[in-house]
């Protein structure tokens, strides 16, 4: 079945349909269907129904109805929700109930949206398949034997399963776009600094942004307009700018580096065929961004370094999991952290510690930050000539659960998505076709603040697909 869009649903609810009934029907659907998918870690039945009743009351009393009036939003479980546990997919935070709302949650509530549940994810957003969750993997609604992508797999699966029309994910190296591609929905990673990170549990702060996910471009844009905006609580939050978009023809550059390493033939063919089709409407040209060949190791070195520091705070003393005390504080910390973190998190903390440590800092961390400059410059040059840059979102089709065990092989999945995070530019994944019965996403990137451009081009993709 084709679910109604969020925009249509909002109109119905604002027009008088019961928000409470709508929410109850979604909760019923989740209860029935989600055990097969595992998209939620926590379902917010109580608060969601309360909020629905309050909104029905507000409408009856003639209050001003927000842009997301009554709409259910599935929220990734690394975004803090006051009074609702926020686990980050980790045993470490299994019982952590934040005493505050993230800025995006305040914005959602201010727009009359309802948080319907907290979605599954790779532990601390470290992964590309949502298999690294303490709460078990999320299955792909299109093929439950396969992964939903990650790390925002739960959010993507929830939208694809019509558990909620809208979802929030976070994207550090592709974590919104990857599951959007695998679950055949739309996912945006905004310009760095556009959406407040206050309340987003950090994995790699200099790279990540919260991003909207929806089944179509229009809904994605609707949600983005609500969550974007300056926030004094986030020091890296930018005063908002909008890039003027002309009515003229779009020029799209396609870097050949996007088809070089580890890209499955089926994916390449699907994307190239689609770009050919697009060629009738917009100008498409192959280009080269040489530094992209180094983007993946650069990304991982930076992300792991920042993560090793960000995750130091989880020692079990002020919040989170605390086991039996050892003979002294060092032992206690080692025990709590050894017990609370899963293997991928531990690997990244160890490597990040290594990359920052005396004697290796210049070779890894500093060098990676310098290459990051080269990558930014490559993009800046490209955007002087092209409005957008395009390529596949994922180098591979959704793979089977448990199929990829080797860390490097899993990291390779992010090869197309990490450049946008390194450069801080916006990027969107839009479904562009199927191959072997599995979805393929087209990735579009724009210069900073070029989200409107991405939506405009995304609509063209939607029509052609």
């Amino acid at each position: 079945m084709l679910p109604r869009s969020a925009i249509e649903t909002r109109e119905e609810l604002a027009g008088g349909a019961s928000v409470e009934e709508y929410v109850l029907s979604l909760l019923e659907r989740i209860r029935r269907e989600d055990p097969k998918i595992n998209s939620f870690i926590t379902i917010c039945d109580g608060p969601a129904i309360e909020a629905a009743k309050a909104l029905d009351r507000k409408r009856r009393e003639g209050g001003k109805l927000g842009p997301l009036f009554g709409l259910a939003v599935a929220v990734k479980d690394n975004i803090c929700t006051k009074g609702v546990r926020t686990t980050c997919g980790s045993r470490m935070l299994e019982g952590f109930v934040p005493p505050y709302d993230a800025t995006v949650i305040r914005r959602l509530k201010g727009a009359d949206a309802i948080v319907i549940g907290k979605t599954n994810m790779d532990e601390f957003a470290m992964g590309s398949s949502t298999e690294n969750s303490y709460f078990g993997p999320t299955r792909n609604p299109l093929d439950p034997e396969r992964v939903a992508g990650g790390s925002s797999g739960g959010s993507a699966a929830a939208v694809a399963s019509a558990f909620a029309p809208l979802a929030l994910g976070s994207d550090t190296g592709g974590s919104v776009r990857c599951p959007a591609s695998f679950c055949s929905i739309v996912g945006l990673k905004p310009t760095y600094g556009t959406v407040s990170r206050y309340g987003l549990i950090s994995y790699a702060n200099s790279l990540e942004q919260i991003g909207p996910m929806a089944s179509n471009i229009g809904d994605c844009e609707l949600l983005f307009d609500v969550i974007r905006g300056y926030d004094p609580r986030d020091n890296t939050s930018l005063p908002q700018k909008r890039v003027e978009i002309g009515e003229g023809g779009l020029r799209i550059g396609v870097p050949k580096e996007f088809f070089m390493e580890g890209v499955q033939e089926a994916v390449e063919k699907c994307v190239r065929d689609f770009l050919d089709k697009m060629g009738s409407l917009v100008e498409v040209e192959e280009i080269s961004l040489p530094s992209l060949a180094y983007a993946l190791p650069t990304y991982y070195i930076i992300a792991m370094s920042e993560a090793s520091s960000n995750l130091a705070r989880y020692d079990g003393i002020r919040y989170g999991l605390r086991g039996e005390d050892g003979s002294d504080w060092n032992e206690t910390y080692c025990n709590n952290r050894g017990m609370g973190f899963g293997q991928e998190v531990k690997r990244r903390i160890i490597l990040g510690t290594y990359a920052l440590s005396a004697g290796y800092r210049n070779r890894y961390y500093i060098r990676a930050q310098k290459i990051r400059t080269l990558i930014r410059e490559d993009f800046e040059r490209a955007f002087k000539e092209f409005d957008l840059i395009a390529g596949p979102t994922m180098p591979v089709l959704p793979f089977r659960i448990g199929e990829k065990l080797d860390p490097v092989e899993v990291y390779m999945c992010d090869i197309e998505t990490v450049p946008a995070n390194l450069a801080g530019i916006p990027a969107i994944s839009v479904p562009c076709g199927m191959s072997q019965g599995l979805p393929v996403g087209l990735q579009l990137m724009a210069p900073p603040f070029g989200e409107e451009l991405l939506f405009r081009a995304g609509r063209i993709v939607e029509e052609l697909a």
Binding site: P99, S291, Y319, I350, Y364
Partner: protein, 95 residues
């Protein structure tokens, strides 16, 4: 494939990051981490001479807060601590 990280290095890194690993984890990690570092080696190919590092991807400076008190709500923060004595948070002993 060289052994960039030895068992001794791994133990030192675990100490620096206060992580206890099981024996099996240590064995498995040693191979995996060295393989990852082999992959990272490719960044050595890039000539970064004279290139400044990018620490912040946005050109933003001087985002400062006025020195105005925001009344704290300490109790809901304090209650998160698994072990407390009175209003103190209990940490393990320091030798």
């Amino acid at each position: 494939m060289g052994e960039r990280i030895t068992l001794e290095d791994l133990e030192r890194l675990c100490w620096l990051s206060r992580l206890r690993l099981s024996q099996e984890e240590k064995v498995a990690f040693l191979g995996q981490l060295n393989k990852i570092l082999d992959y990272f080696e490719r960044i050595d190919e890039v000539d970064v001479e004279g290139i400044p590092p990018t620490h912040h991807v946005i050109d933003l400076t001087n985002v400062l807060r006025e020195d105005e008190v925001e009344e704290p709500q300490p109790d809901e923060v304090l209650e998160l601590a698994p072990r407390r004595r009175g209003r103190y948070i209990l940490a393990p002993r320091i030798l």
